[in-house]
């Protein structure tokens, strides 16, 4: 082997080591552990596919799959809204810096803080309902977190859309700044109105950024929502906002059934893998077309 190649390997070794220790090993260990009964301490007992059989019969597992899929339905809105706002802002808006600070605020605060604040805002006797009532919209003042459908949709709206709105706007604005102005000039000459320009110039020009944002959205909902749900609804009422991720926590750190938690985690891993596979394939295909 050439000395240059060896040196390259030495240079990437720390990063490879980190990847192996913190990503590859946990994934393999998780799958391995899913075949055991283990309380998080002491000896693990091999039980074959028992955990998988239990999971398939577990009503909570199917509820959590359903809830996770419902949350994924908020991704289109979570993409479209920041995209449209960015397109509007790109053309200049009075007081934009103030507006930008306001919509970016959720990204500064972090999941736990926003979850706690949101749980207070959405209470039956809370600021949101008080505000609606004082505006004469008392009929819209609902028990947001105590009704299953409302709680799940509140979670989707706050976590899937609002919380990531600010960063989405900044992200898409940055992407839009790279679009050649001559394209807009040409559209103007052709008599294209705002919507036509947006749809035929802006969107295709930042296609890669949009696809990347969609990938990020999937990751956020499938694998990063736990701290928010824990502080917002604790998976309730009942199991109304109980997701796959929440189930992993519950099985692992409430019931201390680590093997069973690993079974759920394996399913989540496979689900993420399938989605990532199709997304990467789609992105490559689009890149080839471009």
């Amino acid at each position: 082997m050439k000395s240059e190649t060896i040196e390259s390997y030495i240079l990437i070794a720390p990063l490879l080591l980190l990847l192996i220790v913190f990503i590859l090993y946990p994934v393999i260990a998780n799958v391995y552990l899913s075949f055991f009964k283990w309380k998080g301490m002491g000896q693990a007992v091999f039980i074959g596919f028992d955990n998988y059989q239990t999971m398939l019969k577990d009503e909570t597992f199917w509820v959590s799959i359903k809830n996770t899929l419902v949350l994924l339905l908020y991704i289109p809105l979570g993409v479209a809204l920041p995209l449209m706002i960015s397109a509007l802002l790109k053309e200049g808006l009075k007081g934009w810096p103030v507006f930008r600070a306001i919509i970016y605020l959720p990204n500064i605060l972090g999941y736990v803080i926003i979850g706690m604040i949101s749980s207070i805002i959405f209470r039956k006797v809370g600021p949101l309902n008080n505000g609606l009532t004082s505006l004469g919209l008392g009929s819209l003042a609902l028990d947001w977190l105590s009704k299953p459908e409302l709680a799940l949709n509140s979670l989707g709206l706050v976590y899937g859309v609002w919380m990531r709105l600010g960063f989405g706007c900044i992200f898409f604005l940055a992407a839009m700044s790279s679009i050649d102005d001559s394209l807009y000039d040409a559209a103007k000459i052709d008599g294209a109105l705002w919507w036509r320009t947006f749809w035929n110039v802006t969107v295709p020009s930042i296609r890669f950024s949009i696809e990347f944002w969609i990938v990020l959205s999937f990751i956020e909902i499938l694998a990063r929502a736990f701290p928010f749900i824990y502080t917002f609804t604790r998976g309730g009422p009942g199991f109304a906002t109980f997701t796959l991720e929440y189930g992993i926590y519950n099985a692992g750190f409430v019931a201390f059934n680590m093997g069973y938690a690993s079974t759920w985690a394996s399913v989540l891993f496979v689900l993420c893998g399938i989605i990532a596979f199709f997304q990467v394939k789609l992105m490559r295909k689009n890149a080839d077309v471009q």
């Binding site: 105590s146 009422p237 009942g238 409430v254 059934n257």
Partner: protein, 438 residues
């Protein structure tokens, strides 16, 4: 070449740092024989700076004064991930000498890693009832070695505000302990503009959960243990079905605080009751949300108590639901000073230390020698007059006991998404889980 040299240097530096660190850790772990034995305690109560820590500090000082050869290092650990930390210590094979556990299944998980205490407690075993010792034995079994010294007896009951009862035209000295008088009292209170039941229903609806435990005590009485073996059940039991209906009526008639779904039980709902914002409260008997808190806030003469609501379908009456050990201390197997550790635990569970513990925190001590009258709270004397029957929740698996029952309660009574029959099926499922687990 230069790069290679740099990489080697970095690795060498890392290795030297790690060796120095490991050596330092080793040195701190070595105790010189002339120094007092340091006993490290981990618990999830010490972090309560206002309520519990002052009492524990006082007891620690007392124990160290009585035992000059012992130094106590009391470490408050976070409540939320406490058992994860203890498990990490077990996996590492080292950690504190003494660990606080909740009684029941959470402690039984650690039986393998805690020492048997029988020889240490032999001389004072009679001070605490066998009801508690049996529960603190290995796996909760009869005639098994004791692995934990109980610090509290936990339980649930109904507190009421006598002043608000008077305001609503009710006799404050007569507790509404049967279903008819209870419902009538709620109606009168509601009509007088008083919230009949101060409720904490946000997140985990503990008010519903705890009231169910009181109902179950009356339904099964001393036979409650049979729920774990299948000799008794929720499904098919007419009294249990009736209890679910009573709970529904309480909600439908608006007797639960309408703001309850926006109120967490700990500590908002308890604070509301202590502030006189509601007439009745399904409370705890020890640790928090208890007799001391309410008597301190409302006055000794203004707080009444009854253990449960009697209803005709239930076989038993006036049963007081309890957990033989709410919390307790165990000595870990790796402790180098188990004798000293047991002296510390005894300092908490007996004598002056125990009196401080109960008097300052409102904990319900299982030690029979505590002079209840000297505490200055007649209500606690009334509570302790009544015998306890086992809380059904202590029979469940960790997951069911720690949250699933609350989720089922929420589905049936807060979000109204399941029927009462489905609720009964879910509750029965918890018992079946317990029964089917080897």
């Amino acid at each position: 070449m230069k790069i290679r040299l740099r990489v080697v240097c970095v690795f060498l530096l890392l290795a030297v740092t790690m060796m120095a660190w490991a050596n330092g850790s080793k040195e701190t772990g070595t105790a010189k024989s002339a120094e007092p034995a340091t006993i490290t305690i981990w618990d999830f109560k010490y972090g309560d700076v206002q309520g519990v820590q002052p009492a524990m500090k006082k007891i620690d000082d007392l124990i160290m004064q009585q035992n000059p050869g012992i130094k106590i290092n009391h470490v408050g650990q976070p409540n939320d991930n406490y058992y994860q930390l203890v498990r990490a210590a077990v996996q590492a094979g080292e950690g504190p000498d003494i660990v606080m556990f909740h009684g029941g299944v959470q402690a039984y998980d650690f039986d393998e890693y805690t020492i048997g205490l029988d020889k240490y407690i032999a001389s004072w075993r009679s001070e605490i009832s066998e009801f508690s010792w049996e529960y603190c034995s290995e796996g909760g079994g009869k005639n098994k070695p004791v692995h934990m010294v109980p610090m509290t007896t936990q339980g649930f009951g109904i507190y009421y505000n006598k002043a608000l009862f008077t305001k609503a035209g009710l006799d404050p000295e007569k507790a509404p302990s049967d279903i008819d008088s209870f419902m009538a009292a709620c109606e009168k209170l509601k009509n007088a503009g008083i919230v009949p039941i101060t409720a904490g229903l946000q997140g985990d609806p503990y008010t519903v959960d705890f009231l169910f435990r009181c109902f179950v005590a009356n339904i099964y009485g001393p036979d409650v243990k049979d729920l774990a073996t299948g000799a008794q059940s929720f499904k098919g039991n007419a009294a249990f079905k009736r209890a679910t209906e009573i709970m529904k009526e309480i909600f439908q008639k608006g007797y639960m605080d309408p703001a309850g779904t926006s109120t967490p039980y700990f500590m908002d709902a308890a604070n509301n009751f202590a502030a006189g914002k509601g007439a009745m409260f399904i409370g705890l008997l020890s640790d928090v949300c208890h007799w001391k808190v309410f008597c301190d806030a409302l006055g000794n003469d203004s707080v009444g108590y009854f253990p449960t609501i009697n209803f005709p379908e239930a076989t038993y009456k006036d049963q007081q639901v309890g957990q033989p050990a709410g919390i307790g201390y165990s000595v870990m197997k790796w402790s180098k000073n188990p004798d000293a550790a047991m002296k510390v635990i005894a300092g908490y569970a007996r004598g002056e230390g125990n009196a401080i513990w109960m008097g300052m925190t409102g904990a319900l001590s299982p030690n029979k020698n505590v002079d209840i009258k000297s505490l200055g709270y007649p209500l606690v004397g009334k509570i302790l007059e009544k015998p306890f029957v086992l809380d059904f929740n202590t029979l469940l698996l960790n997951e069911d006991a720690n949250g699933n029952f609350d989720r089922y309660c929420a589905q049936a009574y807060i979000s109204n998404e399941v029927s009462l029959d489905k609720f009964i099926d879910s509750a029965q499922g918890m018992l079946d889980n317990r029964k089917n687990t080897k």
